[in-house]
């Protein structure tokens, strides 16, 4: 299959383009996604190509978007709803938790809801508290929802197609700082592009990346760094800066969780650092700690460490003091490796 260089916006656009063409049940809905093409241009050109009955502009009402999408999904469509920023998703939370997540269970599988909810997440764009949040943990906690977050254009396209084809609801987080290029946590450096990045080479046609499968993006023996989203690139930069033989695992899916890959990695290295951008307290990393200590306890050389966003709302100022950047990851690796074993 012919691959070409795509950024994550183009890769996501390609996924929906392909699915709209392949499956007449696929519809897109969201704020400004049709005529305007989306605030991040992810749906650019799709309404023009497939028509306003396939790519729908909605009012600014997230509860309504998701509620309508649930109705479509239960009645045979395969909707892809966009919530413009993950920071705006909370009005839809009741619909997602009380209706969407439970439909299969409540109806004894008479109804399923093949609904994908796309939403840009994460900070690093000087977006302040209303455009920078990482709420994946509050969805991972809800039984009945799948939660994924790609870290590169290739995975973004493959995972989005897999999500659209999935018969159960998937919450699809898009780290917006990665839309245009990988980001290693250094805001003062010139922005990088996906062009030339191996994961920026994306097949033009249909392919999937399986939900529930993590990727070892760097193999190593000294420690395991478990991370996802933007922090994959921050961690790789920290590892390169230290010149340490770390293994970096990109979860890609939070739910279902690929415990097999995690167990193999941590059992091999005996040391584990968990890194995510979301706040630490009761965050998704806490679940990872629990899962890993349960499975790898007798292999642990040191306590499992975490680097996460500080336990405050995302700040307007001091973003780079808040954001868990390269220096924090470097220090955490050094502390973890200094634990005598």
């Amino acid at each position: 299959m012919i691959a070409r260089s795509m950024n994550m916006v183009q890769a996501l656009n390609s996924a929906m383009d392909i699915m709209l063409a392949r499956d007449p049940a696929v519809v897109l809905l969201g704020e400004d996604i049709g005529y305007f093409g989306g605030v991040f241009r992810v749906t650019d050109g799709l309404q023009k190509k497939f028509g306003a009955h396939r790519v729908l502009d909605t009012p600014i009402a997230e509860g309504g978007i998701v509620g309508a999408a649930i109705g479509m999904a239960v009645n045979g469509l395969r909707p892809v709803a966009e919530i413009q920023f993950a920071d705006y998703i909370y009005p839809a939370y009741d619909q997602m938790v009380s209706e969407l997540a439970r439909l299969r269970y409540r109806s004894a599988a008479a109804f399923t809801a093949p609904l994908t909810i796309r939403t840009p997440c994460g900070g690093g764009i000087r977006g302040g508290q209303t455009h920078s949040q990482s709420p994946e943990g509050v969805f991972a906690h809800v039984s009945g929802l799948k939660v994924v977050m790609p870290s590169n254009p290739y995975d973004a396209k493959g995972l989005l197609i897999a999500s659209i084809e999935d018969d159960d609801p998937v919450v699809f987080f898009e780290p917006k700082r990665l839309y245009n290029g990988p980001f290693d946590g250094e805001p003062d450096k010139p922005a990088q592009s996906w062009s030339g990045h191996p994961q920026g080479e994306v097949p033009e046609g249909y392919f999937t990346v399986p939900i529930g499968k993590a990727a070892v993006v760097r193999a190593g023996g000294a420690l395991s760094i478990i991370t996802y989203g933007t922090m994959v690139h921050v961690c790789l930069a920290a590892v390169a800066a230290l010149g340490i033989d770390a293994e970096v695992v990109d979860l890609r899916s939070m739910v279902p969780l690929d415990t097999e890959t995690l167990t193999a990695s941590v059992s091999k290295t005996g040391r584990c650092l968990i890194v995510h951008e979301a706040t630490g307290f009761a965050g998704f990393g806490a679940e990872l700690v629990a899962q890993i200590q349960q499975r790898c306890f007798w292999h642990l050389e040191a306590p499992i460490a975490r680097v996460a966003g500080w336990d405050t709302p995302y700040p307007h100022a001091f973003e780079w003091e808040y954001f868990p950047g390269k220096q924090r990851v470097v220090r955490a690796i050094e502390r973890l490796m200094a634990e005598a074993a």
Binding site: G270, W298, H299, L300, E301, A302, A340, A341
Partner: protein, 414 residues
Amino acid sequence: MSTTTRHIMKLPDLGEGTVSAEVIAWKVAPGDLVREDAPLVEMSTEKAVVEVPAPVSGRVISLGGKPGDTIAVGAELAVFAIETIIEGAPKVDDAREVEAALKESAAAAAVAAAAVVESRSVPRTGGRIMASPATRRRAFEAGIDLATVQGSGPQGRILARDLGAARAANAAPAVTEIPVIGIRRLIAQRMSEAKRVAPHFAYVEEVDVTELEALRVRCNAERAADAPALTYLPFIVRALGVVLHDFPQCNAHYDEARNVILRHAAVHVGIATQTPDGLKVPVVRDVAGGDGQVLGIDELASEIRRVSEAARAGRAKREELSGSTITVTSLGKLGGIVSTPILNLPEVAIIGVNKVIERVVVHDGKITIRRMMNLSSSFDHRFVDGYDAAALIQALKEKLERPEELLSKQLRVN
């Protein structure tokens, strides 16, 4: 009031004319309190290992030798301090001496105890062993008790590298030193002496034991319910008793001191026996009938069993371990096809029994399967000529191949 007296224990006569004995292992150390009759020391005499009990209750002050040392009967074996409650004045001199000795041993014990405490003292947090789960797993897999390991990490945490020493201590050493003392020293001396002074020659002959096997099976089927199964050995010993009458030069001792050969009228057969201490040779006496009475096969079998079990258990009497005039050595199923036994001096012949195996042989002009056994024997060529040795073994072979006669209680069956 109480007083302390000193009790010197001298090595007693361990019986049967012992003049000295070798220390094998002490069961006590200086400073120990022992009770009367508690095991004190294992001593080895020429023929047996004997456990010597403590003669008194008291504290051990000193021991008379190290393992491997030979102590003469009557020499000081151990010294005890005995506390007694008596009326009247203590023996001042004795008491002082004992006190000084006790202080010395107590000081030594204190140093030893301190060393133990030092090697085990691990500063720990909360009284628990500090170690990562991975280190605990490594220790578990290596069979190391972490309580015995000194941690070199923060707060005394046991690190992977700390297990190295414990692992080395647990591992079997590349070379293990075993002092050659006691029975083993005796075996070594006698074997090298025999090989050095006696020019051995070996003679191997095969014996068809097909009929002997049939007889053995029949005897076993007919034996009393409580009698153990017969092996080949009693038949071989019995046959030896019969044929040696015609070969007195093989049933002899050489007395080197007087330079005479002692030909024995009686046949006392030594049975080479593997024991936990090493090779011993218990003796079955008068197999050819010392007083006109010949032991039957069953009686011979029980006597062989009795003396070899006594030797294995270390409770054979001195006379049960000496006085043989010829020796039989048999390893049963481990017997191999040929062996070259070493003489049990001062004897001049030893009969080695190899394993019994079914072989294709020519018998009565036909190729057939027979049960065959080799006899590998050694003789002292100074006193036994090849012709006589060969004739003895041929006679023995003949008896074993016509075994019915061996059941007779008559000495000469011809």
